[in-house]
């Protein structure tokens, strides 16, 4: 019984978060619901050697895409940061691109 309630409580929390992402933006259009890619795909360890995993978070210029745009959750953004800096050090990803 108590276990079941716990499970539901968690689900409710997630829904709240989703609503936050749907807030209307300037110009009257709605933003697509942003989901953290790593949460959705259940990636526990962001591997710095996996370039294919990291490239979606690196726009043209070579900078790290901010959380407000990519929708990554805080926890995963932090892990992503370290993964990207490691990959940069190994020349898998550029520091800057002109």
């Amino acid at each position: 019984m108590s276990e079941e309630r716990q499970g539901r409580g968690r689900g409710g929390k997630k829904d709240d978060k989703a609503k936050g992402g749907d807030r209307p933006r300037g110009g009257g259009f709605f933003r697509r619901r942003r989901v953290c890619k790593f949460c959705a795909d259940k990636i526990d360890y962001i591997n710095y050697k996996d370039v294919r995993l990291l490239t979606p978070f690196i726009p043209e210029r070579g900078k790290i895409q901010p959380r407000r745009i990519s929708g990554t959750c805080a926890k995963h953004q932090r892990a992503l940061q370290t993964a990207i800096s490691r990959a940069r050090q190994l020349a898998l990803i550029p520091y800057v691109t002109e």
Partner: protein
Amino acid sequence: MSQNRQYELVYIVSPDASEQTIAELHTQVEQIVQRFHGTLDKTENWGRRKLAYEIGKAREGTYVVETITGSGELMKEIDRRLRVTDTIIRHLSVRIDEAIRVADRLRDQRKATQARRRVARGLPPEPSPSERRGDRDTDDVDDMGLEGTEVQR
């Protein structure tokens, strides 16, 4: 305790180096590991890869990944040796045992939660392959750059 840390070592060998030099470097690393009573768990050679930026004058390099279990002193020695080796243009060692432990715990937790919820709904704890939701990560990646212009249904 501190003897059993797991590390991942990646080094980039200069493009001028021959196959033989790469093999030699590998045995060198292996020897250091043995001297410090560690174990070399895995070696992966990625082969030649284009570098994202120039390092010195090199535009490409051979990547070698080694998984090592051992002490911090061992890694310190390897780091020192690789630093003085001219044929190695870049190297990075990362401690991975803790990250792996965290990842394992998260996965186990998620599995347990899923099983509990499924049992609460009167389903068997493990989902059958047919119940799985389709691949949604692939189209997520494609949409990445267009997010701003998309309108919510």
